[in-house]
């Protein structure tokens, strides 16, 4: 089992530790609801060092990234980041990821921890053009500082003017005494903030400086459990739940990162274009429970007459709404907003409604 460079801090803070994607990770510190609301209203810090990082470099770098990702890499300028996915050649998704254009011929791909080996094998296999690729996952630490007060806290620690780093852009600079940190205006919470990529050797001093700087703002460490409720309230997909090897980006509502521009000849682009034009048989939708209860992954979605029309992929009690919310693949014909559906929760059948995401 691996540990991140921040493990000793988690343990000292009394975090509940779980095994996740081969790492011992903090799932909860002070309580999921408190952590969730801290990020929505203030500022919280997540250790996300388990995420994977691949460098793609050299004159063939663009060709490889354009081929393996569904979004249009040609639209990126240096300093911009892009949400994307790796189509799997069979109409499914290998993983979702962030693509950073670091230099003219240098890209950083940030992938899910649980998929690092699979992604690395996939990207290597597709690298027929001979781009220079490097799996740097074990040498990079990552923190996500998220919430409406995140920028104010981080601004105390850097000369970089953070207000000049807009959403989905990044800069490379010194912060909290560490050099060459990627300071990225991205995150998985929908509450604003930054993600920092640093060398493992700098991890401790950056963590300590951030918590010192954030005292006034009531900064707290946040575990993986709240990371999940925060992303779900915003309707962000989680690989392994809402998207996987059997679901396409079109079915998942990720048409906006699936770009069919001339020149963007990525894997599965013809198949996905056909899906987009002809329509899909199932679609990922958000729903809110009207009855009391909590939907969870793999619960059935049924009609009033018990016809099975879908399957829940993610569900939770929303700390903001105080209602059960979830996402589900729902068959064509039942996906219109406001459609009444039912979720089979163990022995009960709970009334729910198809809604637009984000939930909050």
């Amino acid at each position: 089992m691996k540990r991140t460079a921040f493990f000793d801090y988690h343990e000292a803070l009394g975090a509940k530790i779980v095994s996740f994607a081969g790492y011992e990770m903090p799932i909860e510190y002070s309580g999921i609801n408190n952590e969730h609301m801290t990020v929505r209203n203030g500022v919280g810090v997540f250790d996300v060092s388990h995420m994977g990082e691949f460098w793609v470099k050299g004159p063939k770098a663009f060709d490889l990234v354009q081929k393996v990702t569904s979004n249009d890499v040609a639209a990126l300028t240096v300093g911009q980041a892009q949400y994307s996915c790796f189509p799997n050649g069979k109409g499914g998704i290998v993983d979702d990821l962030l693509v950073y254009k670091y230099e003219e011929e240098k890209y950083l791909l940030v992938v899910n921890a649980s998929n690092i080996d699979k992604d690395w094998a996939w990207v290597s296999e597709q690298n027929t053009m001979g781009a220079d690729i490097e799996n740097a996952s074990d040498s990079i630490s990552q923190l996500a500082i998220q919430g409406p007060k995140a920028e104010a806290v981080l601004q105390k620690l850097t000369e970089v003017n953070l207000s000049e780093v807009p959403y989905y852009t990044f800069t490379v600079g010194a912060i909290a005494g560490a050099d060459n940190v990627i300071i990225s205006n991205t995150g998985y919470t929908g509450s604003g903030g930054f993600e920092l990529y640093m060398y493992n050797a700098d991890a401790g001093k950056v963590w300590e400086a951030i918590f010192e700087a954030g005292k006034e703002e009531g900064i707290l460490p946040i575990g993986l459990a709240a990371r999940d409720t925060l992303r779900l309230e915003k309707g962000f997909c989680l690989y392994g739940n809402d998207i996987d090897d059997t679901t396409s980006s079109i079915e998942a509502g990720l048409g906006w990162i699936t770009k069919f521009n001339d020149g963007n000849k990525f894997i599965d682009c013809e198949y996905l274009l056909k899906q987009k034009e002809e329509g899909v048989t199932k679609r990922l939708r958000g729903f809110v429970l009207e009855d009391r209860g909590i939907p969870r992954k793999d619960y059935e979605v049924v009609t009033e007459n018990d016809e099975v029309i879908g399957r829940v992929t993610s569900g939770t009690m929303s700390p903001m709404l105080q209602k059960g919310i979830g996402m589900a693949y729902i068959n064509k014909g039942n996906t219109k907003f406001d459609t009444e559906i039912f979720i089979k929760v163990r022995n009960r059948k709970l009334k729910a409604k198809v809604v637009k995401i984000p939930f909050v």
């Binding site: 999921i32 609801n33 409720t229």
Partner: protein, 125 residues
């Protein structure tokens, strides 16, 4: 860790307050801590006769669902209605406000099988 001496316990981390042949049942401070923030308590067995170790309800934390087991056989005669709107009473006040059910005990001899506070402390280490 608070383990009141006046209660009996089970390995499933439930506590039992004995008052003649009626017992009050809840989950321990240790159990609520392991579960984390409790968001839903579902008990639909009022007036039912249940055997020892049968499921009388479920408790949902944000990330997990756990069944609640009968520590003894008997009839569920009362359910804590407060938990419907305030499931977090189980977190805040597990041994008092967070009680779950009252049971008319079928066979008081079964009460002998419950753990003492000392024995339960060993269970949770």
């Amino acid at each position: 860790m608070n383990v009141p001496e006046n209660l009996k316990y089970t390995k499933d981390h439930e506590w039992v307050l004995i008052d003649g042949d009626v017992v009050t049942i809840g989950i321990t401070e240790f159990a609520q801590g392991e579960l984390g923030d409790i968001v839903f308590v579902e008990i639909e067995t009022e007036d039912e006769d249940l055997d020892k170790e049968e499921v009388f309800g479920t408790i949902e934390a944000v990330k997990t669902v756990s069944d609640l087991y009968m520590p003894i056989s008997g009839k569920v005669i009362e359910v804590n209605a407060e938990l419907e709107d305030q499931p977090d009473l189980v977190n805040k006040d597990p041994f008092e406000g967070g009680w779950m059910i009252k049971v008319q005990v079928a066979d008081t001899a079964e009460l002998e099988d419950l753990l003492t506070a000392e024995q339960y402390k060993e269970v949770i280490g």
